[in-house]
Amino acid sequence: MSAPIVVSGLEFTYPDGRVALKGVDLVVGSGERVAVLGPNGAGKTTLALHLNGIHRPEAGSVRVGDLAVIEENLPEIRRRVGLVFQDSNDQLFMPNVGEDVAFGPANLGLGGSELEQRVEEALSAVGGTELAGRPSHHLSGGERRRAALATVLAMEPDVLVFDEPSSDLDGSGKRELVAALARLTMTQVVITHDLPLALELCPRAVIMNDGRVVADGLIREILGDANLLEENRLELPYGFVLGTSDD
């Protein structure tokens, strides 16, 4: 089976002239979980937005499975690749959580009992069946995160892409999220500068800086390289000791 995500030579400049990506190469295999680390402004989010065609490559290409990310493939690409945005408030725009979860599959043409079942499955996958009828602006941070994840799971994607999944979560909210993510078996790309979270979830890590991939390897080796982390403005939390066991 071909790798779910193949990015090669990807370049992108924002309309205001800011060059965000300067030739990114990245291959993510089927079922793999990869952390994308890097300082603010490294181009991580821009890369994520290319993975399901929100941005189109200026140069280079992005492929998802056997499909190139081009106009005519977009509906299927968006089914295959689910993006979980940094601010869950951006992701939850419908009057209540149930309708938000239904939004994606309804766009895919599902309806009736099939749609209801999809919504129920997605919510139970994040341990949030009780959230269905609640308006999004009355959820706690952790609940909002899990609801946002459910909206994407309802599309039954092959690849999940998370942009800073742990930002604005307290300790237990983060714990619930990690538990929910660890249960999922599909390919995952986790963009974060929360290094312990990356270590817990992903065997492999990629470091991006200044629009390029500057390191790619086993996460333990990457996080163990103090110089590499420092060069890329990354830092393990004070007092954090990298364990020796490899899972």
Partner: protein
């Protein structure tokens, strides 16, 4: 800033009126307001009938009269304006305690008071028995263009977030000693309003990206809500017909 809390208008109850499909309630409320608006002001008995209808509906919906009365304070500015009319209007005068009052003005006052209060009460009742997203959905069923209903929906969803941001900006200003008293100190408020606009615009872009990434192609999907039943329509249109009959009778008699 207490604005934008959609539940503030809603009275949580399980009455038969709460359970009705939103579109029939909107039609009933609109028909009622229209009838009130075309009823000639001299037909005071017609307004009494309308008031009884509102009272009965409120009773059926188990909406407390105190709730309606409190919400009615929203029309206070119009009431105050109406109270001035008899003193400034021209035409035939009657004298009350030595003050000349215009008869035409009195009728004008009565007209504004009766119609404003009845119209406002029925709107209060509608929002008390129907949650805002339901009303928006009902408008969609009634073929209000999707562009308008989508804008209204997003406004309801994000108003609280914008209000929160505004509140945080104010706290940040106050904590740095900003205490505006004169117009010349208004500049920071204006620039924060500008920043708020830009932030809301950027949020709009991000929300759009989130929608597109879940397959949004420009049309909001219908999420299979229960359509109104025949008997709901019958009751709603029955109410509209009754109000229209009162209005017609009033037009003919006066």
């Amino acid at each position: 800033m207490g604005a934008g809390h959609s539940h503030a208008l809603y009275v949580h109850e399980h009455s038969p009126l709460h359970a009705m499909a939103p579109e029939v309630k909107i039609v009933a409320a609109f028909g009622f307001v229209l009838s009130v608006a075309i009823t000639p002001r001299q037909a005071w008995w017609a307004f009494a009938i309308y008031a009884v209808i509102v009272a009965v509906l409120a009773r059926l919906a188990r909406v407390p009269s105190r709730f309606v009365a409190l919400r009615l304070t929203a029309v206070l500015p119009f009431v105050v304006f109406a109270l001035f009319i008899p003193f400034v209007a021209t035409g035939d005068q009657v004298e009350v305690w030595g003050v000349g009052i215009s008869v035409e003005g009195l009728w004008g006052m009565w007209n504004i008071l009766a119609k404003a209060l009845l119209g406002a009460s029925v709107s209060i009742l509608l929002t008390a028995i129907t949650e805002i997203p339901e009303i928006i959905r009902g408008l969609g069923v009634l073929r209000v263009p999707a562009l308008f209903t989508s804008i209204a929906m997003f406004m309801v969803r994000y108003l609280e977030l914008v209000a929160d941001e505004l509140q945080r900006t104010r706290v940040a200003m106050t904590s740095r000693g900003y205490d505006p008293r004169w117009l010349s100190q208004a500049r920071p408020i204006a620039s924060s309003a500008g920043a708020m606009f830009v932030r809301s615009y950027e949020r709009g872009e991000r929300v759009h990206a989130a929608m597109v990434s879940r397959g949004f192609g420009g049309i909001m999907p219908g999420l299979g809500h229960r359509p109104a039943t025949g008997s709901e329509w019958a009751r709603s249109l029955g109410l509209v017909a009754a109000c229209a009959a009162v209005a017609m009778a009033a037009l003919v008699i006066t």
